[in-house]
Symmetry: C2
């Protein structure tokens, strides 16, 4: 890994969406320049970055030139092609690192990793064939959910199996991709912990937030989450255990189901996370700056919470509400995307609901 970067250094970011954009802004606060690598034209992050490379992940020359122009490389999303990572990793450090990416790029590997750490997950089984699916359903039962092992995002590549007779159709939906069957978890609510780990191994977690999804997409995150003091401790300890096991450097999102038996890990995201956007207005140092501090080899900042916040995503035409929202006491964060498509994350709001207690 890298030594501590001095202000003036350049941080390369793979992916030019809203997460890259907010990482770039956080980097600027610490005096760093950013260089965005993004296949799509006019990426949102490019509006607040020193440089942008527009090239596919298969363009080896572009990847090499990008790496040569930066001091460290990080990423805003986990589904970066392995071939690109192989090229970049030989040239520059890529925190959070390959172990975290390999784990989170494959739902089966992720579940096995979590189970091996002694953490609770949904019941799961590898599905490489329709026969596998039928046998997995015998063990796990219905309802269950069949998911492709790789490249899942916001509910895509998933099929619900409400009864055994849905199996064939669900299997067909996967189009032959290696898959995983996951049993349902009976949970009261979902929370997430945004954890950060520095190069020296120190860990700092933001207060858990409580998530509500609509149509498979995060709708709101509220802090504080409805958790007992011991659940709150458990949530943070689980996140820390995962960060340490991966020798992780940077910010990670850990989604947890709250159940009568304890906290069940739903999934991990090896990057800044939508459910951590509340930190921008609830903390002096937000998740984006924690990530930049970690990948730059700096100590983590003080992420303690000064305010209670409800974060709400603005999806698609939700942005048409901006003129009304601007009248209210709400922090607005827009992503600079030209077109509001259905399901597209256009921005988010952080509504302050009072000072943090205690």
């Amino acid at each position: 890994m890298t030594d501590r970067l001095a202000p003036g250094a350049t941080i390369g970011i793979l992916g030019g969406g809203q997460l890259g954009r907010m990482l770039s802004v956080a980097a600027s606060r610490l005096g760093f320049k950013t260089h965005i690598f993004e296949p799509g034209a006019n990426p949102p992050a490019g509006q607040v970055a020193q440089s942008v490379t527009t090239a596919p992940y298969e363009d080896e020359a572009a990847l090499r030139a990008f790496a040569a122009s930066v001091d460290v490389i990080t990423y805003e999303f986990e589904n970066i092609p392995t071939s690109a990572l192989d090229i970049l990793e030989a040239l520059r450090p890529i925190p959070p690192g390959r172990a975290a990416l390999a784990t989170s790029q494959d739902r089966l590997a992720e579940k096995a990793f979590l189970r091996d750490l002694g953490l609770m997950t949904a019941p799961f089984a590898d599905v490489a064939s329709e026969a596998d699916l039928n046998s997995a359903l015998e063990t796990i039962g219905a309802p269950a959910i069949l998911k492709t092992r790789r490249f899942g995002y916001d509910g895509k590549g998933q099929a619900r199996i409400m009864a055994l007779e849905d199996a064939a159709s669900a299997y067909a939906d996967m189009a032959g991709a290696p898959s995983i069957l996951e049993g349902f978890v009976n949970f009261s609510n979902e929370v997430s912990v945004i954890g950060a780990r520095a190069l020296n191994g120190s860990v700092a977690c933001f207060d858990p937030g409580e998530n509500v999804h609509l149509g498979g997409i995060l709708h709101t995150t509220t802090v504080p989450a409805r958790l007992s003091p011991s659940q709150r401790s458990d949530a943070v300890l689980i996140a820390a255990r995962i960060l340490n096991a991966l020798d992780y450097v940077g910010v990670m999102g850990v989604e947890l189901f709250v159940t009568a038996e304890g906290l069940v890990v739903n999934e991990i995201a090896p990057r800044v996370h939508n459910s951590g956007h509340w930190t921008q207005n609830g903390c002096v140092i937000d998740q984006f700056e924690q990530h930049i501090r970690a990948v730059a080899g700096w100590p983590l900042g003080d992420g303690s919470r000064h305010s209670n916040v409800v974060m709400e995503n603005l999806i698609g035409e939700d942005v048409a509400r901006i003129p009304q929202i601007a009248e209210s006491c709400t922090a607005i964060h827009l992503y600079g995307k030209a077109e509001a498509k259905p399901g597209r994350k256009m921005g988010h709001l952080n509504r302050i609901i009072g000072p943090a207690k205690g």
Copy 2:
């Protein structure tokens, strides 16, 4: 003036220093792009802007192309040449506006404007000749300070007159520039109010901060300032009166001396102000976003203070302390400047000293 700008619009900013940089970041939060116009190469603001024009203010073609590429123009400093403003103003709105610039570009006009509003200022007199200076000194007395009327900044273009015999040398220091003699004010402390005024005339002021200078440069701003409740009201009312009198749109810094006779206006700055940097970590909506909201024709945001803060400037080699500072519970804001020269503002810190009371 402009109608309400929609997200996706481009805001032009004259000046690419740290104020333009932080304005650009605030604009990005509201979904705006920015285009920086700056004579110097590699401006700090350019690291977080969509576009940069590097050209002198005398380059009419560059000014016209810049104006054509943006929806509204604002500025990070007040000493923009009049000829450039004449060209730009014919093409695009330039909030806060010419009245504020004309007033604040000329210390004599500023003092006269404030006096005509019924506000207290230091005693002052126009100095167009050495004879004027001698006659002004008879009225105002020594100690006093002789300043050029235009283009003063951070203590430059000023000469102290401790006794009458210093007059000739002080006059020579002005090198024939039209000047103003200002008497000293016997004050207990200096505070500033960062006020904002929207296109619809509504005014919102941040809580007053208390300033300490070192060597003519702002060293710290602390909120809350040591003010009685009535002084606090007076400070805000003074700022509002100035904003309204200028039909101002945007953020203004108003520096006030606290004296036994009341608040004396030291100077006004028609832009975001160094003494308002604490708002980045003390409020949900900071001075930079208030300015962008105002110039975009949006309603002002909620600038109420959630935390008490000490802002400290990092001047010159102060930035060498960053590795130690990063260990502490302090928000760091660096400006991306390549070289730390003596007296150069390299960044600032916001140290949270507790939750805001009340």
